[in-house]
Chain length 459, copies 2
């Protein structure tokens, strides 16, 4: 009775909702690159104005980095209080030449599987964030009010390690209190099955810069006799995994728990098609620990990856230089009770131990968050599961997620709030890659899903 | 009698000679970067015009790459015929931010050890090349003619592997015949001892690009399960040397001869100060084969160096990408009878053998030249040694050179001509690095040295 007109309104308003999303997508809010600072600020302003337009008391909150956006609306007496989190910042766009269209000029494209919204941030996370805002807009338009009390909380540094988040949670803990935090930054399981993520990997980012000679040298005059930092870096990276795909950093597996039997059984039931998953990106062999299933490799086992590596001359042609420095960006995905701080320390000790004479190393930290494992005791989990099941072809499932959404752990730690993660991204959304997209179906049914979840929560 | 007025003329004309060199240094003739093609052409034009101004019949000769410059002047009946070689192209200038002044705005600087000419190409090789041209100019100005028959031969692709050189030598072998080829692209031994290089290392350049997934991936969604090409590249590079500093490519040391006892004895007499040599660039430990002397590491042992390496995100901040490709530029310095083609093959086989499933490799060749060992039987070697000894504080010596000047081997192979390598660079010239310089003393006494050598050769 209360829900149906809201769903109808969402269907009617879809073109306008898409236009609003496009406005937000056009803002190049790349948080990791200081050159885009103003654009991050502009995205925050846009959100404040958009929330205000549906009656939310919203404001931009300065931090040492990019601003937060916080907004509040009241709900009926006795209704639960929810907090909704999303992030308005996006990943860098390089390699730019691989984009078919400019990344910040969003377009609707017809594809064999239906319409998609193409552009950086369409899926991660602006499109997802707006599914919730649009659900609220429809509710407000139809009923003039909201079914629950809502706090909106949008961050602008998620793609760059969220340096301001913990201080902000600490300083504003009271204002951000709620019964449950809803986080929309995850995806569907396949095309038809909505997922609520109850396991998230943590993330530890480390940049290392090895210096050998005090300047770039001529590799003829100095080659052989002078230590080449690129060789040192290669040896460090090569030593990070053993032949079985296990990470060698001492103590790395401390605190890694085996999967509980019930969860293992549920995952087995998902019949994960590793061949298809890898085939989509041109691969055929699971490359992780060789005694683990593919789904474990992604959802419940820790990893170590090189995200970037650079040394010497990398332009066109050839330069016979013996480089002075070599650097790498390395990240670890963490699970269970792995302690990011201890692992950082152990990794740094490992790197130090690999340095030959004449080489020095500089470390730069890029975030350190533990893994998150949710308890599904909070009634919101079952309300959401039921609402999602109503909207989509297949029943909703509890899953894991390979990515790191440290916010979930931080909400638990600093606000004492359980986090419920759901979202409508698809496996082929090309997150963090060129030609990122969000299915129009994800956007449309995503908005409808939130309307249903709000309805269940308010019931 | 014939020489003294030439030397006096050189002394008087030094300011004008420096101005001419500055004109040439201002042309950014970076051969390896296609963006600088026109400037390479302009440098060739400048040389043709400058040679013409001293009565040389000079012209620019097109190739598939940058042009050659060839010029001729006649000498007295019965005088020997020499060919003089230099190269007008220069190395790229990155990292540009480490230059104290713009690389193509040459300046004279006062330093504790005297005046230096600062700018890209000042030492390698425009400054060196002009020492010979200026000696000829002085001779012509004083005597109205030249003491020997001279062919001038300037190349514009030396810093990018000389792709057009061998075809040009083959096509113009008759025109380029001479009794001896003089090559000015090497340095002094220390500050006071002129050197004639009789051993040169060869150079084999290889670029490898490893591809794993067919696009950049999110390291959360795909980390662990997907093979990361940066790890593969690191393992390949890490495996190129053993713990004793020896190169592991199968067959790499085939054809590497031990140093003849007389040369070994002569080198020992040089009392090479490895501590000082390394200390200048911030190092203290010779990093080559651990059973070899420092001078052997540079002059008579083969090496393998990483000149460049790149994968994934290398900008500011952090990007949790699992890269699709990883690439490296790797070069080998070769000695004695090492066969560059066999080593290339063996290296490529090694790389192939290191590829895990799902990874492929693409190779790009960047030059392959064997080492050169000169016979000093040609009378020009002793004439030059005597002339150089007259000009400088210490007697001239026969030495090795770590760098690769493949032209010397090519002259022998394609023209049948012995090459005599001498030059006036100093160890601190910062070749290929930011803030390259050429001592004013190198330039001035270099010109005087060539006048003396011309005199000896014509005697």
């Amino acid at each position: 009775m209360t829900l149906d007109p809201v769903l109808a309104r969402i269907d009617d308003d879809l073109p306008q909702a898409t236009e609003r999303l496009f406005d937000l997508l056009r803002i190049p809010s790349i948080s990791t690159d200081p050159a885009y600072k103003e654009h991050c600020d502009a995205a925050a302003d846009w959100l404040v104005a958009d929330l205000a337009s549906i009656g939310v008391d919203a404001s931009k909150r300065p931090t040492n980095g990019h601003p937060m956006v916080v907004g509040h609306v009241d709900g009926p007496e006795g209704a639960p209080h929810i907090l909704f989190y999303g992030h308005y910042d996006v990943q860098p766009v390089d390699p730019l030449e691989l984009w078919d269209n400019p990344p910040f000029e969003p377009q609707i494209e017809d594809t064999p599987k239906g319409k998609v919204i193409r552009g950086r941030g369409s899926s991660d996370d602006k499109g997802q964030l707006m599914t919730f805002v649009e659900a609220c807009r429809a509710w407000k338009a139809v009923h003039g009010s909201f079914p629950v009390k809502i706090t909106f909380f949008f961050e602008g540094e998620e793609e760059s390690g969220s340096p301001s988040l913990i201080p902000f949670l600490k300083d504003n803990g009271e204002e951000l209190q709620s019964d449950v935090a809803l986080i929309c930054d995850t995806g569907m399981y396949g095309e038809e099955t909505p997922a609520i993520v109850t396991r998230l990997r943590g993330l530890l980012g480390q940049e290392i810069t090895i210096t050998g000679p005090n300047k770039d040298l001529h590799s003829g005059m100095y080659g052989g006799i002078s230590m080449n930092p690129a060789r040192v870096l290669a040896k460090i990276i090569a030593g990070l995994h053993d032949d079985n795909g296990r990470v060698t950093v001492p103590g790395f597996y401390d605190g890694v728990a085996e999967l509980p039997e019930d969860i293992a059984a549920q995952w087995k039931g998902l019949n994960f098609d590793a061949k298809h998953f890898l085939g989509e990106v041109g691969l055929s062999h699971p490359a992780g620990e060789n005694d683990r299933s593919a789904l474990e490799m992604i959802w419940s086992r820790p990893t170590c990856e090189v995200n970037g590596m650079k040394s010497g001359y990398t332009g066109d042609g050839f330069k016979t230089v013996l480089p002075s420095v070599a650097s790498a960006k390395i990240s670890f995905r963490l699970v269970s009770k792995q302690d990011p701080i201890k692992i950082r320390e152990s990794f740094q000790n490992y790197v130090q131990s690999m340095l030959p004479p004449d080489c020095s190393v500089e470390f730069k930290n890029h975030g350190a968050s533990a893994a998150g494992e949710m308890s599904t005791d909070n009634p919101a989990f079952h309300a959401a599961k039921s609402a999602l099941t109503d909207e989509w072809p297949q029943p909703a499932v509890f899953t894991g997620c390979g990515g790191s959404i440290p916010i979930a752990a931080h909400f638990k730690t600093y606000l004492g709030t359980d986090a419920l993660l759901t979202g409508f991204g698809k496996d082929d959304d090309q997150l963090h890659s060129p030609n990122e997209k969000y299915d129009m179906e994800s956007f449309h049914k995503g908005i409808r899903s939130w309307a249903r979840i709000l309805n269940e929560l308010g019931a």
